[in-house]
């Protein structure tokens, strides 16, 4: 938010516009195995974000010269539907989605055990159907669950959330309004079991102390999201056992 623009009061009486406290996540909803053709899939809601992730593979890598003789190659495509934003987004990859796809793929690199499937490709497709800030983090959360649903061997899942600064306060999980009129935005992805960061980006203005507090806040929230991801998977698979809902 540059000075001189109209100021929007993002914090009133210690609460945020949607009534949340500073360290509160938006409501999260997770559905596992929502697509028939994909090997694994997940529908994920985080506030007004609606995101779908699908995983195909391990499958044969085309073209073949992209194969890696030692391990599987993970491909990650973050894509926004044209109707997912206020002003229609032109279909196809733009520079923003190329960058997000790259850092999201790298966020999964330490956890996926690629050595089990040399010469193959693991394709992760993330579609943003409705957006309200934090789409890359919602996409990563969805992709984690979809990878697990596809049975891809992983050391752990990845969980992700953004922190930011609004009205001078460090807050968790920015909404669209807060992102547009706030002072800083920092998406973080973390491996819960090891407490290690696999994605970190930031723009805006953070003092060093604010950054350090924001990082801690994001890491705590990632643990909460991780539990929701786990619970969703456990529910899905304890239900299907013995109900004749086998795979084809």
């Amino acid at each position: 938010m540059k000075e001189g623009e109209k100021e929007i009061e993002l914090i009133k009486k210690g609460k945020r516009l949607d009534g949340r406290g500073f360290e509160e996540l938006r409501p999260i909803k997770i559905e596992v195995g929502v697509l028939k053709r994909a090997d694994g899939s997940c529908y994920f809601e985080m506030g007004d974000n609606k995101v779908m992730a699908a995983v195909y593979g391990p499958r044969e890598m085309h073209p073949r010269h992209f194969q890696d003789a030692k391990m599987a190659v993970v491909k990650y495509r973050y894509n926004m539907a044209p109707f997912s934003v206020d002003d229609r987004k032109r279909p196809g990859p733009d520079r923003r989605s190329v960058e997000i796809s790259k850092v999201s793929r790298e966020a999964f690199d330490p956890v996926i055990i690629k050595e089990y499937y040399p010469k193959t490709a693991i394709d992760v497709y993330v579609e943003i159907l409705q957006s309200d800030a934090g789409t890359r983090t919602a996409g990563i959360n969805a992709a984690s669950v979809a990878l697990a649903d596809a049975g891809i061997p992983m050391k752990d899942m990845v969980s992700s959330v953004a922190v930011g600064k609004i009205g001078g306060e460090v807050v968790l999980d920015l909404s669209g309004m807060e992102d547009n009129y706030g002072e800083a935005d920092m998406p973080v992805a973390m491996v819960a079991r090891t407490n290690t960061i696999t994605l970190l980006q930031m723009d805006g203005n953070f003092k060093k102390e604010e950054f350090e507090r924001g990082l801690k806040l994001a890491m705590d929230a990632c643990h909460k999201i991780y539990e929701l991801q786990r619970t969703a998977l456990i529910e899905r698979y304890s239900k299907s056992v013995g109900e004749g809902e086998g795979e084809e």
Binding site: V98, E99, K102, E106, T194, I197, E212
Partner: protein, 261 residues
């Protein structure tokens, strides 16, 4: 195939040398290679800089042209940052449309310039809703020996510090200069094994599992960050990298940018 074997050998070499507490080129862990910044090197560009960090060489040119503003910011100029990893700069670079590495490079440099609000975009308005100045920051990598981000970011802000607005060429009148309001500086560190190294050369960059670029403003506040690479970072490692980032940025700013302000 041959190249991949060489990569592995070089990686082992970097690790071996680190194990004895040294870097492959003998630098301290937080020490930069020699930096040089030469400005106004290209006369057709409205601003330019040639930055060298060791053997890494990046040329940045700034061009301006009048254009239509975005509908949601009718009174603001436009910044467009682009990076070309031209094939002359490395045997690994190939001609063709921008790939994810050049897109990332351009967007991280752009993030620092934009977030720091170094450019007063409202001063670039020619006629509200109709015409504004578009600033094109073009990063041309000439020789890649690692740490392109820091070189490109330094080149970008150095070029911007004294660019001219080509009013006359476009039949316009107005101020021909626009002072910058801040000087964002990018500092990249990598993690190799348990070590954190500033300004990785190419061998180190290829051996590293994680890289973190930290961009900070003249007052020490952070204006951009980007983690890159396949590895993981612990909280305390990130905090350390940010600390190094802010300290080194201050040194680089004082040495190479302060005399231009």
């Amino acid at each position: 195939m041959g190249l991949e074997v060489m990569d592995d050998i070089r990686k082992d070499y970097v690790y071996d040398v680190l194990r004895s507490g040294k870097r492959v080129d003998g630098r301290g862990f937080r020490e930069y290679r020699a930096i040089s910044v030469e400005r106004d090197v290209m006369k057709r560009a409205e601003g330019s800089a040639l930055v060298k960090i060791g053997d890494t060489e990046v040329l940045v040119g700034v061009k301006l042209a009048p254009g239509e503003p975005f509908s949601d910011a009718p009174d603001k100029g436009i910044i467009m940052t682009n990076a070309e990893l031209v094939p002359m700069a490395s045997p690994e670079f190939e001609p063709g449309p921008p790939n994810e590495n050049s897109v990332e490079l351009a967007r991280v440099v752009d993030r620092g310039i934009r977030s720091s609000e170094a450019i007063d975009l409202e001063k670039l308005c020619i006629e509200e809703g109709e015409k504004v100045w578009m600033i094109f920051i073009d990063i041309h990598v000439l020789d890649n020996d690692g740490n392109l981000v820091d070189a490109a970011a330094l080149g970008a802000i150095a070029s911007l510090l004294n660019f001219r607005i080509p009013n006359e060429r476009h039949g316009l009148t107005g101020e021909d200069t626009l002072p910058m309001r801040d000087t964002p500086v990018a500092v990249t560190t990598v993690k190799i094994g348990g070590n954190i190294l500033a300004d990785p050369n190419l061998y180190e960059a290829n051996a590293a599992t994680s890289r973190l670029t930290v961009i900070s403003n003249a007052d020490g506040a952070l204006s951009g960050m980007q983690k890159s690479g396949n590895g993981e970072l612990k909280e305390e490692e990130i905090v350390e990298m940010v600390k190094i980032g802010i300290e080194k940025a201050k040194e680089i700013r004082e040495t190479f940018l302060s005399n231009f302000l």
